[in-house]
Symmetry: C2
Subunit: 598 residues, 2 copies
């Protein structure tokens, strides 16, 4: 059976030693009072909760799955899920980073980020229930009417009720402009919704008294396509004026999907049969309102893969130290045993370090990105808010696609460390790969993320935001350019930055003549951009580590960080060489293939 | 539900137009009479059998799995498996490439190769039952006593009985030198075996009347380590002198593994409790005898991934043509519909072509390698036999690791084409990725393959065999070096050949000083070597296609082949740029990581 230890030390390193989050938060009135000790204490408690309450339900939840009662349309979640959720609510975890106005604790997003990383390590399927709920909270907080806010937000904040996002229909997922669910206005100002949704995560369950579905649908006068979509709040149980639960609203689970992974989460087909809902935001502007939730969800999906990468790494490391098999190529190491622990073998180390580097790079990126979110939401200076928001927008598709792809590589590498035992369910390793696999798909496939990055976020403003990020890299290069000890970390990102600038201009011109050139390059481009960002963050982490070591700090953590950064630049970062080449290979070899794809 | 069409045209292209197998077989007395029509007819029939009888059991077999009766120790395979196997036996498929001396049909291995590719596309879990059996046949045919041969081979050839290979024990898989199963000599010349085996594929089932286990064990006087291992034939039912089944031998299934995939195959824990066996080959030389079976199995594992790559590709292609979502970046294509089929999107094409190129490259390699096997076994000229055997030995780890890694990439890419539907079981795509996943692990992990390739097959003879392969490439380069139309296919392999030669010498020197350098480079090296081989085969296939087109042949197959080859060289082959770089990055960044991996 696998084990999990919250990576508190590395979180604290990123939070306090690399990003100095409390210094940043001091500038924000909402968070000015939070100190290092408080952050550390909350994260430590969150880690305990994840490891002790949620993690033990991971394998059993996968085996048991969710069960739909076809007569009542109620879904039973795996044994223990409901109790664990009750403890989560009781502990106030749902309210952590929510607005105090609705009962939230008002902690910064960076803290919530760390808690969620650990919950995802412990049990992605379980964590999706509160995760989706938190997304619904954010969408309603941003776009809800006052009545919606007072009716729903306190219950979502406390966790008594949960929320979902109902977007996908059988004939449309990526292309929401095609959706058909209808909303008919009623005399009382509400709407009656009718339609069929699929792939609704946490769509029905027994963990909370009510479920607030946020549903995309079309009004009768809606224009065709994505500009005719509106957003509605549709509760499972109608809510009486006094806040008590009223009649059952006809929005129910018609079936559960049988999936490759995340078995513990109910992926529901949702039948909407004249259910009563209220409009969220403006008519026909539902996609914009939903994107509040989608963007949060995309960062959340990256975080799911970060969590799985970390827990897979921890278990593969433990196995590699314990399992003895063959001798080291340089002669026996464990002479008292019949064979050496497999960690002596170079390729076993390579697999382990791949996962470790991707976990640590991912953690740094997720925390940095969430700190930028805090600045976007809470900083008093409008320019800081705007700049931070722009950077978050640039980083979001990278977080979603790069970290989930890395999670695929990492969880598979960690499974491989186990040899045949990795394929056996009881070790838990294959589940990490199966659960992670959905992260490359949902909330916009990784291809969609790459088009969002290259087409919209980069070429869409002539590379202006990319240049802003480039300035951060440039500042680091300028600062450390003459430091010989830093050159192994600085040179690669300086070189890649130049290549990327040149290539971005090039692809901009080519794409102007033929948009398929953008589509052909985008996936490779996103991975290059991902390494550019990881490279920057690893260089910053190495900078801190080198300074501590130079100052005589003997904590092995810093040496470990340097070793991981060296490995990253030597073995993972060079992938950019091929990616630049294949991105440059253009669209012709893809599009002139009608005979091959006949 | 997925579909499957046997890729007969592409097989025939490789067999007859690229490799001219009947010309080669003419030189072998055992196969001199076989003609193109016979080969095509057998393959066509085999394809029908795979598509119509075996394929329909793939999803149901995955869902149902195998069930062990703990009191009788008997295993029930999924519904339909037993009947399908009876049809397989009845059709004479088990006997196809077996020796006529034991009732076989004596067809060349290349034909069997094609049949097995299709069976693997149809159902890897089912195909492992006859597959393992065939391996046992080969080991006994090569190393069995006359009595063993007459007792077991006719029944294995007909398929009435099946076979297994029992190597792994709980504490040893890769490192067989550690195994503990004991064999005590008896007065009558037999042995009593005692021990515990795990991960025994097809280890127990209800499809055949008897199972002949080939078991690795230690004699009482065995030296420690891998030089003290002997091989034994241990039947499930002892066989009477008249060939009828006798008493039940105490070698039984103690448990079935719950696995990520290949659920239809019984992965058995085998308890051996004083079972009677007979020695196969020489005492203490069991590993060498077992390697006959292992080498065949390694080629077979590559073939499993080839089969899954092909079937995943076919279904992703069909889905990409059918599913409409979004518009082409260059403007609407299906103007009569609300959206375009997703095949208009460059990255969807890239995912499809990745699988197609890996399937076609893999097919060419598997068939070529099996033709070399035919030459090794049946050619009258000793030098041809020796040279062919050497090349097969070189190619075996590449077939096993490169094709299975490519299968991982391909089945995941094809699943990704389906978006969210790829994650849902009923579409069948996620099963292809799960079933394929074991292929990277068993019969020697892909890391072990890479050490076998670089350490033993290449550096072990100072690159002599690699040079022989290099000569084939050199001949093609010389032949087509001035042909401008071929330069896009010839230049990359000529360049890579030079780089690889240089790097091989370099790593040879470094490895001499520090063996960990070999271990650190081996996995990257194998992928470079794999692309070198695929590049060579794609160049040969492009050569044939270009000649046909130049001769006025308007069959779109040739244009399709050229398009696939162009895609391969533009988008997949360039991976070698990074791999050469990371292989060169050396062992220090892996081995100087004790702090990081603490």
């Amino acid at each position: 059976m696998p084990a999990y230890t919250p990576p508190l030390r590395d979180m604290q390193f990123v939070l306090h030693e690399v990003l100095h989050v409390t210094d940043e938060l001091k500038a924000m009135p909402a968070h000015a009072d939070i100190d290092v000790d408080t952050i550390n204490a909350v994260i430590e408690e969150g880690g305990k909760f994840a490891a002790e309450v949620i993690f033990p339900l991971n394998i059993s939840g996968d085996e048991e799955g969710c069960v739909l009662d076809k007569t009542t349309h109620e879904v039973k979640t795996p044994t223990g899920f409901k109790d664990a959720y009750a403890k989560y609510v009781e502990g106030g975890w749902a309210a952590l980073s929510c607005d105090p106005q609705y009962g939230g604790q008002g902690l910064p997003f960076v803290v919530n980020q760390c808690i969620y990383e650990m919950l995802n390590s412990a049990n992605q399927a379980w964590t999706m229930y509160p995760g989706l709920s938190h997304g619904a909270y954010e969408a309603l907080a941003a776009h809800g009417t006052d009545t919606q806010k007072t009716t729903y937000l306190p219950k979502l904040v406390s966790g008594e009720w949960t929320g979902t996002m109902c977007l996908t229909e059988p004939h449309c997922g990526t292309d929401l402009g095609l959706l058909r669910t209808k909303a008919e206005p009623q005399a009382d100002g509400t709407y009656r919704l009718t339609g069929n949704k699929i792939f609704i995560s946490a769509g029905e369950h027994d963990m909370a008294a009510n479920i607030i579905h946020l549903v995309l649908a079309r009004l009768p006068d809606a224009p065709k396509g994505s500009k005719g979509i509106s957003l509605f709040a549709v509760p499972k149980f109608n809510v009486n004026a006094d806040g008590s639960l009223g009649s059952r609203n006809p929005i129910y689970c018609g079936g559960l999907e049988h999936k490759m992974g995340i078995h513990g989460n109910a992926t529901a087909q949702i039948v909407i049969d004249g259910a009563v809902g209220t409009l969220v935001g403006q008519p026909h502007k539902g996609l914009a309102a939903m994107f509040v939730m989608m963007n949060a969800a995309r960062l959340g999906v990256g975080n799911q893969s970060l969590g799985l990468t970390e827990v897979a790494y921890q278990n593969a490391l433990a196995y590699a130290k314990d399992r003895t098999q063959m001798r080291s190529l340089t002669g026996p190491k464990a002479k008292d045993k019949d064979a050496d622990p497999i960690i002596v073998h170079p390729d076993v180390r390579k697999m382990l370090l791949t996962a470790k580097a991707y976990a640590e790079g991912g953690r740094a990126l997720q925390i940095w990105c969430t700190l930028l979110l805090d600045k976007e939401h809470s900083h008093p200076d409008e320019k800081v808010r705007k700049d931070s928001g722009e950077l978050v927008a640039l980083l979001t598709p990278i977080v979603k696609a790069f970290i989930t792809d890395n999670g695929h590589v990492s969880t598979n590498a960690c499974m491989q460390v186990f040899g045949g035992h990795g394929f056996i369910k009881e070790w838990g390793m294959e589940q990490f790969t199966r659960d992670n696999r959905i992260n490359l798909i949902y909330e916009g496939t990784n291809t969609i993320q790459s088009l969002d990055l290259l087409g919209r976020k980069i070429l869409g403003n002539n590379g202006a935001t990319l240049k802003k990020f480039g300035k951060l890299v440039g500042a680091l290069v300028a600062e450390e350019g003459v430091n010989e000890k830093m050159s192994e970390f600085i040179t690669p990102i300086a070189v890649l930055g130049e290549q990327l600038t040149k290539f971005t201009t090039e692809i901009g011109f080519k794409g102007f003549q033929n948009p398929d050139e953008v589509g052909a390059a985008a996936v490779d481009y996103l991975r290059v951009a991902g390494h550019f960002v990881f490279g920057y963050l690893f260089a910053r982490m190495a900078q801190v580590a080198l300074r501590e070591i130079a100052a005589g700090n003997t904590d092995a953590f810093y040496l470990a960080k340097l070793q991981t950064a060296r490995f990253y630049f030597a073995k993972l970062f060079p992938e950019t060489a091929t990616l630049m080449r294949t991105a440059r290979a253009g669209s012709k070899v893809l599009m002139d293939t009608d005979a091959a794809l006949a």
